[in-house]
Symmetry: C2
Subunit: 353 residues, 2 copies
DNA sequence: CGTCCATGTTGCAACGTTGCAAGCAACGTG
DNA sequence: CACGTTGCTTGCAACGTTGCAACATGGACG
């Protein structure tokens, strides 16, 4: 049977309370006593019973991380960073995925599914931030990837408008004039795709251009990118550059370009968003917008921690904007030849740093 | 404040115990009483306090899933399936990653890190199954991807020897004679890479062939695949086929082939292992060995459930072998042209089903 | 010498739940 | 009518931990 405080106390010849003081650093303990207790802890292999601790303290030490999918390169990498950032602060992460299903997204948030958590970090797909707030009902919440104005919720995201504008500028700077976009999602009322579309148009407008086409997608995966580029290639005036709202879309498009004999970047410049690892190893390697993922994870956990610990002060919702940068690679004829610092030769290049 | 059994009981005019009976179906309750209690539960938005329940019952309802990384396409997809399978059986999954670090792998297993779980599903990297058993110290355990003989641990895996043999056969059947392998890992004493190497050699031997080269790797990622193929291309007698022990290795190799002007599959047949989504959208699409992942996840959770619930019967360790199949695609000149059922046109083709 | 304070140590109660065994009413049977 | 049975409900105690307040001890200080 597992050792309890009582057992350790008996062995060390002190009270239960003193053992508790030692193991949880709750009060000063004389060095000699501490040593004796530690020895007993070692001998019995004592581990605190977290259920009891949680019951007593009213906290679980668990934070929920809710993402649409774990499987995708972007969210997988983000989840990993969140888990690390949380561990550093003593939290354990309960990772949940919604698969984009609105009902599941809601159930996870209102707590009727699964375990109790002290707070949540959510990357919403089909639920608006306002709705999130009411569902969570007072549970500390940090929202990723969306910026919305209301409630005592913190938001962490990059500046989608500026990032998309930078993408458009990059394509135009490379001499492209017939620029299209893939990745709009009018069906979802909410933000990310809208914001990127907006920034994309702004970036073109600065040079007196406007999009030759904007293709809607059902999701941000390769299949949709492939379908969308096929569609674009059938247009009378083919684009000479395409900005995809995710790297996965771009990789699907890249595959279709190869099939159709369209040379990238000579005939078509292709650009993605997210900087997933696959993009660095694609042939040609994929130019992309790289968010500083570590910062997103770090700031998100930091915000949530502050909220959980200072539960009763009603902090106003903060909006945290993390920086991004354009990573020029081969797919836009960028300055980085194969084998150079950002090429496949260095799998841990800037894309992850 | 959150409602407790006591509050519900007061509102419904019954005892605390009766409310408990209703919410946990512990004893028969008169329909009228049940209805009254349910109404009170609704009104107060009562949710059972799991910390208290766990403390009382000695179980947490959590199972740990430990994988080397979440970030990678293979483990990401597997983790997702495990979470789903676990949810169906009422478990919540605590997903942890080791990053391949032996020390962290050990800490996670012996429970000194993080939360208490009722059992664990582990995909080990640097720790042998025997060591796992002693670390877990009686905690119900299911090991994925390795088969080792000892202890009361269940193993779930495909037949690595047979799978690698099938891969070799596939390459030989395509007329290849100078076949190499990428992915050996002599440094790690343990199984998977060894088993695949063994099966690979067997498959060649059946046709009177032997490997023209076997390249060791430090990990199973794209970067190592790229490095390894560069090495192979420098050999005096270039191979005409390469079997990579993971799809990621193969994708790295594919990239290098494109850089070096080596045509795939004409000059070089390339084959992977795992059936990750990226492989379906690579150009050319990647022939691979596909495990039935759903079965792995399903069986693993099933085994663990049996062990956790029947904790005191000492079941002997079971070895569960899940089937696999060869998915011929373009990279070995396979029968599947672009756009056909298994091509990029159907992102949810056999690779996931 | 008495008082105060800092430092260590302690017992008690409580967190919200469920196992246990007993209680109670109503009913069927001998 | 006594008795056992069935169906439903209840009070008590316990799970292992920590907050609280009180209690010893010993040294510094007026």
């Amino acid at each position: 049977m597992a050792a309890r405080l009582k057992d350790v106390a008996a062995l060390a010849g002190v009270s239960v309370r003193t053992v508790s003081n030692v193991v949880s650093n709750a009060a000063p303990v004389a060095p000699a006593t501490r040593a004796r207790v530690m020895a007993a802890v070692e001998e019995l292999g004592y581990r605190p019973n977290l259920a009891a601790r949680n019951l007593r303290q009213g906290r679980t030490g668990l934070i929920g991380v809710v993402v649409p999918e774990i499987h995708s390169p972007y969210f997988g990498a983000l989840a990993e960073l969140l888990i690390d950032a949380a561990r550093e602060r003593g939290w354990t992460v309960l990772l949940e995925r919604t698969g984009g299903r609105p009902d599941l997204e809601r159930r996870l948030l209102d707590g009727s599914e699964g375990h109790q958590v002290d707070g949540m970090i959510v990357s919403p797909w089909s639920t608006s931030p306002a709705e999130l707030a009411s569902l969570a009902g007072g549970l500390p919440l940090v929202v990723l990837g969306e910026l919305a104005p209301d409630g005592a919720i913190d938001h962490v995201a990059l500046d989608n408008v500026a990032a998309a504008r930078d993408a458009a500028r990059h394509l135009v700077a490379g001499g492209r004039r017939r620029v299209a976009a893939i990745g709009l999602q009018s069906e979802l009322g909410h933000g990310t795709a809208e914001l990127r579309a907006e920034g994309f148009r702004q970036g073109l407008r600065e040079s007196g251009l406007s999009p030759v086409a904007e293709v809607e997608v059902a999701d941000l995966h390769r299949g949709e990118g492939a379908r969308a580029l096929r569609e674009l290639l059938r247009l009378p005036g083919r684009p000479d550059a395409v900005f995809c709202f995710s790297d996965e879309l771009a990789l699907g498009a890249l595959r279709v370009a190869a099939e159709e004999g369209v040379r990238v970047p000579e005939d078509l410049a292709l650009m993605g968003f997210d900087d997933i690892e696959d993009g660095r190893f694609a042939a040609p390697s994929l130019t992309t917008i790289a968010p500083y993922r570590e910062q997103i994870a770090e700031r998100a956990v930091q915000c949530l921690t502050e909220r959980v610990l200072g539960r009763f002060e009603a902090l106003p919702g903060r909006r945290i904007v993390v920086p991004h940068r354009v990573l020029p690679r081969e797919s836009t004829g960028g300055p980085v030849p194969p084998g150079a610092p950002d090429g496949p030769g260095t799998p841990d290049g800037p894309g992850r740093g």
